[in-house]
């Protein structure tokens, strides 16, 4: 099909050159102007995300595994899949003690974990690279250690958010974290649990992705 490629590109080039287009400069100021005071960012994120049924838990660096364990026990969640090779995974196991929820390491390729992940595992734990105040969005940055499906397949997604990793806008986050230089296979913004309004505009949660999103805020 390289014929198609060449003929398309040749035509585009020829017609563009006979009618060149001078675009206006892109002024990013209207986005850069969106700023929130440091103490306003977390409440704003919380308000926006709670408006779309996201749940929040507060914890500290020392007690987050225990806070999570108690939450899952209270909610009767039987199993949690986590990323064993991450720092958070290590901390989780260390701080777990004896919980009623079974911890399942995501230590194999998806191909070998599919049935379990789709059919029995109830919750998945991931980290985040921060959150965005403008829209109330978490930044997920899956890695070799922390697979993409952790935050997608289990019915409950639990996301660890460090309270000191908050950005004003999507633009600011990608600039400060230098995304354009090193995009991973997949980056995600997640702003709530899965939802749809395709049936007569009635909002329903949990259509294909997680039914519940729980943000575990780790305060410094």
């Amino acid at each position: 099909m390289s014929d198609a490629r060449n003929s398309i590109l040749t035509k585009l080039r020829r017609t563009r050159d006979s009618h060149p287009l001078t675009p206006p400069v892109s002024d990013f100021a209207p986005i850069e102007a969106k700023r929130w005071a440091e103490e306003e960012r977390l409440p704003r994120i919380r308000r926006l995300m709670e408006a779309v049924h996201t749940e929040f838990l507060d914890a500290t660096e020392a007690d987050w595994p225990a806070v999570l364990r108690e939450f899952l026990a209270r909610e009767g969640v039987g199993s949690l899949v986590y990323a064993p090779a991450t720092e958070a995974g290590t901390r989780l196991v260390e701080g777990w003690g004896t919980g009623s929820t079974a911890l399942i390491p995501y230590d194999r390729p998806l191909d070998d974990l599919k049935p379990q992940l789709f059919d029995t595992i109830e919750a998945g734990l991931t980290t985040t690279r921060g959150a965005i105040a403008e829209t109330g969005s978490l930044i997920l940055w899956p890695t070799v250690e922390e697979p993409r499906t952790l935050s997608l397949v289990p019915h409950i997604h639990i996301a660890l958010l460090r309270a000191d990793a908050l950005y004003d806008t999507f633009l600011q986050a990608m600039r400060e974290q230098g995304w354009a230089q090193a995009m991973p296979t997949n980056v995600l913004l997640v702003s709530g649990p899965s939802k749809t309004a395709d049936i007569e505009q009635t909002l329903a949660y949990g259509v294909h992705g997680p039914k519940r999103l729980v943000v575990l805020v780790v305060h410094p």
Partner: protein, 474 residues
């Protein structure tokens, strides 16, 4: 699909006679309009971000061939296989080739307007491949055996009761419950099994970033993530205009698209894909393909005025605000893209012979132009297409298709009458005296009078009346 030209007038009459359908659309569009308005309450912010987004799209078009090459280069470096298709037939052939090679039996699809343009589902089914739409709205429409009626809300023409009946008929063990939460959960169960078993996942692309070789997809349901993450092969389809230059160009587009489309600050998921599973990664497809489709877009690009059509980010807001769309609904257009954007895009892709009626289904009220997040002069383009239909410049497929001798004669008569004061006076006097005697069945009157009463000419002309009031003639 390429048989007889669709009859927009006839389809509209049918739609207008269906009070259920009109009610469904009216309610939905009212809701979408007020939610959008709430998102853009700050007029300064709207003006600034809108100008930025328009500049992003214009800059991309100004460098389109170069950006497509850069996109190809960076995607290839990332391990994405890039394919080019001049026509929908070529794009379908590319898809079939990949599917045959991996011996695919089951395909799951996320929302993709380009594949609607290709009629891909019909092609795959004919080939014996099971293909399942997974966006809930698209799934409903597929079960119903019809077409999407809105680009963002495909099943907006149906209400809960109708969907409950459909599910009861088509899904094993479905209960008869008119409850959106129950119906959604039912679809979840059916589709999760399919995501697990699918050999190939397909998706559209909201924006492709040349700088990094990244495909951006936005959605609320998670089905797009499922289709692009779980099956071993992912094929993405994009129209060649969907490229943007830099990663930084994505935030302005993402800022306006969901707010314009459904009045939400952002979609639940913004999914940015820059390649297949890398060594050591535990999930993600092992192959990612990008099919870049032309299908008439390069011809649209060739004309400096029509080119603006390609700025579109497919938010659907112009539909929600269109008085014609709201009345007749999406199906009357019998096209993959209905509403204002459809009325300018589809005739340019499919030609004025088949689609000459579409640019006329417009009151020129300008509502779409006022809300379009990338400032497309939709109404001007509509006017241009009307001209192309009778006086072809060669820029649009099947230009001149609607040229009619009678119409041309009437207009040249009209021009002559207005060019001479004497002719004008004689003609208006004649109309005031004799106009009422003209039968309403005259060829060019009929279109108007078959649904309306013929207006009566006043006994005296306006000139006459103003003169009587002491206003001198110029």
């Amino acid at each position: 699909m390429d048989g007889n030209a669709p009859d927009f007038a006839a389809a509209s009459r049918t739609a207008l006679a269906d009070p259920q359908l009109r009610g469904n659309f009216r309610r939905a569009m009212d809701g979408l309009m007020s939610k959008r308005a709430a998102q853009f309450a700050d007029a300064g912010e709207w003006t600034g971000v809108r100008a930025l987004a328009a500049s992003v799209r214009l800059r991309a078009l100004s460098k389109l061939p170069e950006l497509l090459e850069t996109l190809e280069e960076n995607c290839t470096r990332n391990g994405i296989t890039v394919h080019w298709a001049a026509t929908t037939a070529e794009a379908n052939a590319i898809a079939l080739d990949i599917l045959h090679r991996v011996d695919a039996k089951l395909v799951v699809k996320g929302k993709s307007m380009v594949t609607e343009e290709m009629h891909l589902n019909a092609v795959l089914e004919k080939d014996g491949i099971e293909v399942l739409e997974s966006d809930l709205g698209e799934y409903i429409v597929q079960l119903d055996g019809t077409m999407p009626s809105h680009i963002i809300m495909p099943a907006i023409h149906l209400n809960t009761k109708q969907i409950a009946h459909l599910f009861k008929r088509k899904i094993k063990d479905a209960e008869s419950r008119e409850d959106a939460a129950y119906l959604t959960d039912l679809a979840r169960r059916v589709l999760r099994a399919k995501f697990q078993a699918a050999d190939v996942g397909m998706s559209g692309v909201n924006a492709a970033v040349a700088e990094t070789g990244t495909l951006c997809l936005i959605e609320n349901e998670g089905n797009g993530r499922m289709c692009t993450t779980v099956p071993p092969v992912h094929i993405a389809f994009m129209g060649l205009e969907k490229v943007v230059e830099k990663l930084e160009d994505v935030p302005p587009v993402i800022s306006l698209l969901p707010r314009s489309a459904t009045g939400q600050p952002i979609t639940t998921y913004v999914n940015m894909i820059s390649g297949p599973r890398r060594p050591g990664e535990k999930d993600g497809p092992r192959e990612v393909h990008l099919v870049i489709l032309d299908n008439g877009r390069s011809s649209i690009y060739a004309d400096p005025e029509l080119r603006d059509t390609l700025r579109c980010i497919r938010c659907g807001a112009c539909m929600n605000h269109c008085p014609v769309y709201t009345k007749v609904g999406g199906h009357a257009y019998e096209a993959p893209y209905p509403g204002p954007i459809g009325k300018i895009l589809v005739p340019q892709i499919e030609g004025l012979e088949k689609r000459g009626a579409m640019p006329h289904a417009c009151t020129m009220c300008n509502a779409c132009v006022e809300i379009c997040p990338v400032k497309i002069p939709i109404v001007e383009i509509m006017g241009r297409l009307r001209v192309e239909a009778v006086k072809p410049s060669g820029a649009v497929k099947d230009g001149g298709a609607k040229a009619s001798r009678t119409e041309a004669m009437v207009w040249s008569g009209w021009a002559a009458m207005n060019a001479s004061p004497t002719a004008y006076r004689v003609a208006t006097l004649a109309m005031s005296k004799l106009g009422n005697a003209a039968p309403s069945s005259l060829p060019m009157l009929r279109e108007w009078t078959n649904v309306r009463t013929k207006p009566r000419f006043a006994g005296r002309t306006l000139h006459d009346l103003t003169r009587a009031k002491g206003v001198p003639d110029v």
